[in-house]
Symmetry: C2
Subunit: 232 residues, 2 copies
Amino acid sequence: MALPTAAPRPFIHQQNLVEQVADYLTQAIIQQHFLPGERLSEVQLSRDLGVSRAPVREAARLLESRGLLISKPRRGFFVRALNAVELEDVFDLRLCLERHAIQRLTERYTPEAQRALKQQVEVLCEAAAGNDGTRRIEEDLQFHRLMLHYAGNERLLRAFDDLAHELRLCITLITKTHEAPDTIATSHFKLLDALDSGSPAACREAIDYHIGVARKFVVKGVGETGDSSDEG
Amino acid sequence: MALPTAAPRPFIHQQNLVEQVADYLTQAIIQQHFLPGERLSEVQLSRDLGVSRAPVREAARLLESRGLLISKPRRGFFVRALNAVELEDVFDLRLCLERHAIQRLTERYTPEAQRALKQQVEVLCEAAAGNDGTRRIEEDLQFHRLMLHYAGNERLLRAFDDLAHELRLCITLITKTHEAPDTIATSHFKLLDALDSGSPAACREAIDYHIGVARKFVVKGVGETGDSSDEG
DNA sequence: GTTGGTAAAACTGTCGACAGTCGGCAATCG
DNA sequence: CGATTGCCGACTGTCGACAGTTTTACCAAC
């Protein structure tokens, strides 16, 4: 069974201008080089990147479908600005998907899945100890991707991946408030314990707690930085 | 809707070419004017529609993000072919989303929502009595969209809308086996009754039953027509 | 100082064209 | 006779350009 390939490029040709532009824009947005609500000029971008407008437009469409950009006809593309309500919605949907996933997972919890998840938690803990905030987030997401993957519904995983782009957006939006390494470890080990117990109720409780913690962190962060509510 | 079988009017005049092309392609795919797995030529399409390749490409990207087309680098776009497993996954995800939605709905079941849903069921029943299969499906989906809407999470609704495109794909794929009008009515009235009762357990049971029925119909249909074995 | 109108600038939507690449076919070689 | 290789056609990826629209800047009037 092929492990899910998370972010950038494990393989495959990167001679694709569209993908390159999309990656560039994604990074730029997540790292806040563009402010939320900011308008992106196609000509400006194509000049900066040294390509024509066609691949820029296609990449922008791609990011629009991922919820990172918003297109307004005859106006152009704008960086998605999440307000508090939308943020709650994102985490609520995440809860919806992961509850379902973990329930399915209890019905097909193979030793292979157990091993892979445990290993990923270790990787995550290692990453959490370091300073690279981006990597910590990616390893965290990768753990959840693994859960979704072993839940045995690829479409469910795709839905999570779609959502993950927005998750990155609002998580890195408040990169200052990051959880302590031991909190992360505890939180994920609880998930593993619940899965090992085989009890759906315990799993549900664990995932509710887990996502609730993450949600609280982000909501708190938005409260501190002030929510970005401007988008006509 | 006048769908061109051989030679469409080579001219579409309205503002948004991309959306028009996307709508045209969506209809054409759903109504099986293109077979699953078939390759779509950009030049051919742009010639037929009387537009340039740029809007065709953008529309194709859009449909790719909706899961109706699949892009292979340097090869072009292919009509998505769903196999049995993917089909199960689609309905499982639908179950995931609607379970969550109906649970939320019980917590905020306003008279307005009640009225709107009831009215939509009546519209649906009326549509079910007629012969227009497409309209019946649309009104059915619209009822569920309303449920998702009144569940109060716009992101959840968007996830459903994304999925709905694939639902249409596999439902109309087997348009012959359509449910009897009274079955549709009964099934939806059960949902309304469950919501009126205010019991989350009853709601969950109702939605599980409802989607289970729909799933069975489609799975049966695929079994009859033979599953469209997929893309390499 | 503010407001309203007009004109210029910038931008998006769309188009046609060119180059690199892929798949298929046929001629050639073992 | 089967496999390999070179060629040909078709197609996608990308580009620069044009037209219509939106935004902005400027100037005049109150």
